[in-house]
Amino acid sequence: MIDPLTPPDTLQTSHADTVAAAVQHGGAARELSGGDFDFNHLLEHLYDSRTLEFPGGHWDIPAFPPVQIGSLTIDLSITKHVFFLLFAAMLLTIAAVAASRKIRKRPVPTGFANVVEVFVVFIRDEIILPTMGPAGLKYTPFILTTFLYILIMNLLGLVPFGASATGNISVTAGLALVAFIMIQVAAIRAQGLTHYLAHFTGGVAWWLWPIMIPIEVLGIFTKAFALCMRLFANMSGGHIVILALLGFIFLAKSIFFAPIPVIFVVAIYLLELLVAFIQAYVFAMLTSLFMGLGIPQGEEQHGH
């Protein structure tokens, strides 16, 4: 099960448990009759791993040796979440390019192209224009990609054998990093670098600057940090609830008890479907809003 190239310290601590559960894969652990049930096996779904499951089996993805930079170990191996990152990117690329082609060819949208167009028009008219104004229209492709990419990753977690990469804090950190950069870029492009830097003083007396500047700097990082945590917590939270409910079945050790948690799981599952859309919307909307804060609106020369 464990790839010989995998150094034991490169993955999360929980990986050992995951692997332990995976060793028992398909064995007694999955059956209700098993005496001691390893609950980590349930949580396996949440964690990143080097094993891809698919109907009828699983595949251990070969790993790259990690790169050591100073004290930081970077492991660029393709894990389950990397796989779903790429898979979502591929799905989105195919869907978006196909829809774009179709709409260009036939001006009256039908079927699938129409669905994509609904999202595009919604993002443009309901997110970009209210938060950034007409000046923000050039960022429409970025916000669109953000929304649809996160949405697809969220939804992939609800597909059997799938995993939501957005339930991993490393992934949401990467997304938030790009959002953070775009927020700063939008502000600098709209205000100019000097104005942007002057903004950190908050316009107070110079002797307050030692307080003001750290606060403002902290402020810009907080926004991105909040984006990262919000998406991660929401996406992993729903999965944890589902797994906790399913765990009751193993605690009760009775097949007659099983329908009750299952009903709740189905309800939570439907809620998750909604959350997948809402969180993608919230991430895109807040990114757009934070970008809009840096873009002077109308006659008002300078934001807050």
Binding site: L86, T93, V97, I103, R104, P107, T140, T145, I169
Partner: protein
């Protein structure tokens, strides 16, 4: 669970940035442009339709005005024609009447004149005949003075008859 795997973050960042660039170039920009063009087209079409509608309404109104004017004109022409006809009729009748009167008068006058002339002629003839007859009878017995006296007397008598 809260450990950050930098490799995964790098993967995410790279994939996300690439996705933004690729989709921006190949999907969103053309799509947004098509949408904008279509919206522009719809706006233009609506405006055009509105203009056409206004034009049609204006034309209709103009048409109605023209119709009303034509109707009025027609009424006027008929009225005028009727008036003219009446006047002409009256004129013709009056003229005819006058003509008839005139001709009647002329005929009467002529008849009168003819009668006068006939009377005169008759008188002359009678005088002549009388003179001739008297000449024959009296011939040399009467001098011209007496002669004349007798004739006048006879003529007067004749006239009185």
């Amino acid at each position: 669970m809260f450990d950050i795997n930098p490799g995964l973050s790098i993967w995410t960042t790279v994939v996300f940035v690439l996705l933004v660039l690729v989709l921006g170039k190949f999907a969103w920009k053309p799509l947004l442009k098509t949408l904008q063009d279509r919206e522009q087209k719809i706006r233009d079409s609506l405006e055009q339709a509105e203009r056409a509608r206004a034009e049609a309404a204006e034309l209709l109104k103009q048409n109605e005005r023209n119709m009303a004017k034509a109707e009025e004109e027609y009424q006027k022409i008929v009225r005028e024609a009727r008036a003219l006809g009446d006047r002409m009729k009256e004129e013709i009748v009056t003229k005819a009447h006058q003509q008839a009167q005139h001709e009647l008068q002329a005929a009467k006058d002529e008849i009168q004149r003819d009668i006068e002339a006939a009377k005169q002629q008759l008188r002359d003839e009678v005088a002549d005949l009388a003179v001739k007859a008297a000449e024959k009878i009296l011939d040399e017995t009467l001098d011209p003075v007496r002669h004349k006296k007798i004739i006048d007397k006879a003529v007067d008598q004749l006239k009185n008859n």
